[in-house]
């Protein structure tokens, strides 16, 4: 048994490699000038610069949060470079042919050849390599129905009125330490606008990667679903192998107006550090959706297997009457990985409903915490919440924790919260093995079954990837 664990522990990170390309990088350190340079490089309008500077001022006065059940090495904010763009000709590539072949090679290695994948899977990929989007596909098809799907910096130029109206409306610059930092220095990200009554004709997808040494990634995503529109957005990531910790502080804002529906799915597989807990990505992300309109619906699905430290709480503000919020999560931690993740469901409107389904799997020396808040405001008549968070422990050195906060200020609310912690029982294993499965396959099967309810929420392409990812991550980790 222990030899299997050793084998697993020694397993190299599959997606670890570095592509050497020239990058246009600002020297490390952060001050107002750096923010001005970022803003200038992106040719941003005045309001955005002001907004960034306001966020920066606020950030200076804030302290790093320490309430999470995480052990975080001090982050040297002064030695991070806050901007890095792949070297490009001034006007940017016009088609795939113009894209730096080295970049394409990277995607190739990762098993997602951009053009092939786009063509075969019918997915429009807005690939983010480091901080600037280099290729965008299927734009024509989308623009025919009026869908705007473009890099954030482009949207700033083409749709400043939408940016001005909605940027920071869900996650204000003052929200938290990392959101404030992101607001000050964000380099790029994705922007989506779905017009009234439009059902987005394809799944939208973005691949985030971290590549250049010493650059924090500060992505900003804004998705606006206008009345009665529907969109499904996919985000997935893998990152090259690194020895030092890399900070990633993204902000994702979703806005759903009347009758709109947004489904946001994530598969996160960033470099988790080696078997001794050295290196790995710090993933401090603020994700929040605002069901602004009546009958709006926002659904978060995440499969978190990577990163040395995950600090992430995709949340829903259920403002509109009859709005619906959902959170489905699988978080797997191994070796010395730490995850503190969960969700917030803030019920403000009448007859709002939310569902939380969280599955945590902890192995090795890892620590895995679910932290959630369900808040029923006095105005939220007949609110309904169902929460289930299950933890599975593989090995006796790991930890699994649950911190659910429930605050109810309205008597017509109905809430249920359930949590269990267990390990794979000998009986289950024995049953599978006496039917001819190897121990490893049996464990993999049981764990997959454990996560099935969440995987069922993922779009098809992701569900396959997620299942595979889990099986790989669990090899040998039998307790």
């Amino acid at each position: 048994m222990s030899s299997e664990i050793d084998q697993f522990v020694q397993k190299e990170y599959e997606h670890g490699f570095v592509t050497e390309i020239d990058t246009d990088t600002i020297p490390p350190g952060l001050n107002e000038d750096v923010i001005r340079v970022i803003s200038q490089k992106k040719n941003e309008p005045e309001f955005l610069l002001k907004w960034r500077l306001k966020a920066y001022k606020h950030w200076l006065a804030m302290a790093e949060p320490d309430w999470a059940k995480l052990n975080i090495e001090p982050i040297p904010y002064d030695s991070i470079s806050y901007y890095s763009a792949p070297k490009s000709n001034k006007d940017g590539p016009k088609s795939l042919d113009e894209v730096d072949p080295k970049l394409l090679e990277t995607y190739e290695k990762l098993g997602i050849p951009l053009h092939e994948r786009a063509a075969l899977a019918g997915v429009a990929v807005d690939a983010v390599f480091d901080s600037v989007s280099v290729a965008t596909t299927f734009k024509d098809k989308l623009s025919k129905v009026g869908v705007v799907f473009c890099p954030f910096s482009e949207a700033v130029q083409t749709h400043p009125e939408l940016i001005q109206k909605y940027l920071g409306s869900v996650v204000p610059t003052t929200d938290n330490f990392f959101a404030a930092l992101n607001s000050a220095v964000f380099s790029d990200g994705s922007f989506v606008y779905i017009p009234k009554g439009v059902r987005c004709p394809m799944e939208l997808s973005t691949y985030f990667r971290i590549n250049a040494l010493n650059t924090g990634q500060f992505e900003r995503t804004l998705i606006i679903a206008d009345e009665a529109s529907t969109v499904s957005y996919l985000e997935g990531c893998t990152a090259p192998m690194r020895d030092e910790n890399q900070l990633h502080a993204a902000v994702v804002e979703l806005v759903a107006l009347d009758d709109a529906s947004i489904k946001y799915s994530t598969v996160q597989n960033w470099y988790p550090g080696d078997e001794n807990g050295v290196g790995g990505i710090y993933n401090f992300v603020t994700k929040r959706g605002d069901c602004l309109g009546d009958r709006a619906r926002i659904s978060w699905t995440q499969v978190e297997t990577g990163s040395a430290i995950t600090w992430k709480y995709p949340s829903c503000i259920l403002r509109g009457d009859h709005s619906v919020g959902e959170f489905y999560s699988v978080a797997l931690t191994n070796n010395y990985q730490q995850a503190d993740t969960g969700t917030k469901m803030i019920h403000l409107g009448k007859n709002t409903r939310s569902t939380i389904l969280s599955k945590g799997i902890s192995a090795g020396h890892a620590s895995n915490a679910y932290r959630g808040l369900v808040k029923i405001a006095a105005s939220a008549d007949n609110a309904r919440n169902y929460t289930q968070c299950d933890s599975m422990l593989l090995g006796d050195q790991c930890g699994a924790h649950t911190f659910p906060y429930i605050e109810v200020k309205n008597a017509s609310a109905t809430l249920e919260h359930e949590a269990t912690t267990s390990r794979i029982s000998e009986d289950q294993l024995f049953y599978c093995m006496q039917r001819g499965l190897s121990e490893e396959d049996a464990v993999s099967m049981i764990v997959n079954g454990f996560c099935k309810e969440v995987f069922a929420e993922l779009p098809m392409e992701f569900a396959v990837e997620a299942g595979k990812l889990l099986a790989v991550s669990l090899e040998g980790a039998v307790g």
Binding site: T402, Y405, I406, A411, A413, E416, H417, T421, G479
Partner: protein, 411 residues
């Protein structure tokens, strides 16, 4: 604030060294505020504005004015924090009343605890080497306005000893006082303790009870906490399971009305393998009241084969009431079976309809349903006299006419 207590302390208090240290700690710790995670829902800022010194006058009390359970027990009466031998039964072997039993000033959690250690006026010290037949019934009466009741109790049960101990807190109506009580329990091998903490204070009282329990092998601890009174009440129970096969059961029922605020924080540490803990708390909230439940179970490394289960159910009867519940699990061992659950809901319309269709008024039906929600926990009380006493108190508080005995029976 600290100066005021210091002044009082210099003039009247007992001057032991540890008390002085505790008072210094009180100065540095201060009254907890809502920026502290453990106190985020309970704001004791009233303690920052008002000083509650120890009572100066000894008040005489007629016990007949209170509706007390008629238990066949050793009754010990404390008034305004002072022991009243004339109202109490003779102290059996193993029991004594001393000025203080808790003198640890190194690990004080908060200013309220520090204040208790600094100012404690009476402490019941129970060291039992053999089982006692009669239950020990401590009656803490808060009689005078604007005073603090600083009391402690220590219960040490040697190997195999069985005991039942009741802490009942009552008070005079409209008396704003501060009840600051601590109890510390040590259970030896195979010891069994049934502990009742009955908080029936009057509407203006402030209440804090801190309880710590350490358990050795195969010991069993049963806690029955009932909270019906006080304007603001906070209870902390911390259980340390230090011997294998020890088990603890924490049951609680809270009912809040008008603007009451009641807070229960429990922590169970599973430090060794093969222990069990069960926790079941239920709450009924009325009017503009607020209740807080925070149940934490920590399974430490190597505490394998742990079984820990926790439930918190709340019934909201008013639109303006608020419940904040947080069942926590912190687990560092893999071969465990742990669960927790929390629910918040209101009276089921179907059940209401069922009773209405059988001729009951809406008021009666609601009362029956609410009462039966609570009765489940009362039924866990092993002392029938206390159970009946609690039942009657509950029925008095619940709105609506008195239920006929048949209806009581039904629920």
């Amino acid at each position: 604030m600290k100066e005021q207590y210091q002044q009082y302390f210099d003039q009247h208090g007992q001057q032991d060294m540890w008390r002085k240290e505790a008072l210094v700690s009180f100065g540095s710790l201060g009254i907890p505020d809502t920026s502290q995670e453990d106190w985020r829902y309970t704001d004791f800022r009233v303690l920052k504005r008002h000083v509650f010194p120890v009572a100066m006058q000894k008040k005489s009390i007629d016990l007949n004015q209170f509706c007390l359970p008629s238990c066949d027990a050793t009754r010990l009466v404390f008034v305004d924090g002072f022991f009243k031998p004339e109202l109490s039964d003779d102290l059996p072997v193993g029991l004594q009343v001393v000025p203080s039993v808790f003198q640890d000033t190194d690990h004080l959690r908060d200013g309220i605890e520090a204040l208790n250690v600094a100012l404690c006026t009476a402490a019941l010290d129970v060291v039992l080497s053999a089982s006692v037949e009669k239950a020990i019934h401590c009656l803490f009466i808060s009689a005078s306005p604007d005073v603090g009741n600083y009391t402690q109790s220590r219960l040490v049960l040697a190997e195999g000893v069985h005991a039942e101990v009741v802490d009942m807190h009552i008070g005079m109506p409209n008396v704003r006082s501060f009840v600051n009580h601590q109890s510390h329990v040590k259970l030896g091998r195979n010891a069994v303790l049934q502990h009742y903490s009955l908080q029936y204070l009057q509407n203006k009282a402030l209440y804090r009870h801190l309880m710590t329990v350490t358990q050795q092998e195969k010991s069993q601890f049963f806690s029955h906490a009932i909270g019906l009174g006080a304007a603001m009440a906070r209870t902390d129970i911390v259980v340390e399971l230090q011997g294998e096969e020890a088990s603890c059961t924490l049951n609680g029922l809270y009912l809040t009305q008008s603007r009451q605020h009641m807070d229960y924080h429990t922590t169970v540490h599973h430090r060794v393998p093969n222990c069990e803990s069960h926790e079941y708390y239920k709450g009924i909230l009325m009017d503009r009241s607020r209740a807080v439940f925070n149940g934490k179970v920590v399974v430490h490394p190597y505490a394998q084969k742990t079984e820990a289960h926790q439930q918190n159910r709340n019934l909201l009867l008013s639109k303006k009431s608020e419940i904040d519940t947080k069942p926590e699990l912190e687990i560092y061992a893999d071969d465990v079976s742990c669960s927790h659950g929390a629910t918040v809901g209101q009276i089921d319309d179907n059940q209401l309809f069922y009773l209405r269709s059988r001729g009951l008024s809406e008021e009666q039906a609601k009362k029956i349903l609410t009462f039966s929600f609570a009765a489940e926990l009362l039924n866990h009380m092993t002392d029938p006299v206390l159970q009946e006493h609690a039942r009657q108190r509950l029925l008095q508080i619940l709105p609506g006419d008195e239920l006929s005995s048949e209806l009581q029976e039904m629920s």
